[in-house]
Symmetry: C2
Subunit: 209 residues, 2 copies
């Protein structure tokens, strides 16, 4: 399998550049402050001149960092073969587990904080990048499964987008906003498993045929 290719402008990322972005990610996760050009240069043992040469300006570095992290988060795709109710339920539950795991991770929280704080200003819109690689990517990934479930007579809904949004709500509930606002809620393995199962059951109760 070919490694994922991430581009900066027209060029692909070198290993050294990935190291720099990992350094930026580390600083970002350790706390919003500290993520300065000087800080990244020191952490990555590179010069600020190099940072500006590679990424243009601070916004370019942040954008590349967000995209780099997004490229690392690759949830395993759900297959739509042999679709009976049990297989569909397993697929939905696994999707819910992956979603909760990613969402509650330090990197996701830090990245969404950064993107939220930068949204609303014009600039290069980090918010849109996170939306595109987060919420929207989730929808694109699950919708084929939902459609297949409807085609197989297992689910019943008019608007696939709407059905996905309800599933999203049943899975995430208030978890993301609470984490973003600094609520130290525990989301251990068992909690995630239970939440995913509950979301699957509730979704079937609402949209099962």
């Amino acid at each position: 399998m070919t490694p994922p290719i991430l581009t900066i402008g027209d060029d692909i990322l070198t290993a050294r550049q990935k190291d720099v972005l990992d350094a930026a990610l580390g600083l970002l996760v350790e706390g919003g402050d500290g993520l300065t050009m000087t800080g990244v240069a020191r952490r990555a043992s590179c010069s600020k001149e190099t940072l500006y040469k590679w990424f243009g300006d601070r916004d370019g570095l942040l954008t590349a960092t967000v995209q780099w992290q997004a490229a690392k988060v690759r949830m395993v795709p759900v297959d739509r073969e042999r679709l009976d109710k049990r297989a569909l339920g397993i697929a939905l539950e696994k999707f819910a587990r992956d979603l909760l795991s990613v969402l509650s991770g330090d990197a996701s929280v830090a990245l969404n904080r950064l993107a939220v704080s930068h949204a609303g200003q014009e600039k290069r819109d980090l918010g849109m990048i996170v939306l595109e690689n987060g919420r929207y990517a989730m929808g694109r990934r699950l919708k084929p499964v939902l459609d297949a479930g409807r085609d197989a007579g297992l689910l019943k809904f008019e608007d696939c987008e709407d059905a996905f949004r309800s599933f999203f709500g049943l899975v995430v509930r208030d978890v993301q906003i609470r984490l973003l606002l600094g609520d130290r809620m525990k989301l251990d393995e068992k909690t995630i498993l239970d939440d995913a199962r509950r979301a699957r059951e509730q979704f079937f109760a609402l949209y099962g045929a």
Copy 2:
């Protein structure tokens, strides 16, 4: 009825101080930048010396601003008299409408952006203030209704907190995170009404006795 009392340290807010906080709110809503001490002083026609005398430092001003806005958002309480299924449904649906209206307002989005970007740093935790006056206050307000619904044999759940979280998920879904990330989604009157009705129906389908 006595006006709500908001304190700064041990003193209550004077009208002039409220004007200052409204100026800060205006700048905040107009865009994250611009909310500087100089900007607030200019907008409110007061001196920076006064700002520091009243609010201590920038964090104090931001904290007071957040609390001031929170004090302005007072959703009408839901009464638990004459509780039949229809009355309960109306109460839930109204709660959902109010929640969506507040959540999608400019002030709420701006305030949550500010709080999210300040969460995670130690400091005076704006995130906790917003959580306390937002998400947690919603729970405290709706839980009596849910409990009354269960006592009246209209609802069925084990954990009231869990039931509320599911209702929250059904109402809010992906709206808040998308707005915070800068998604320009339309949430007009009709959309809110439809979403509230759907949330009520789905909640009854899941938790109706």
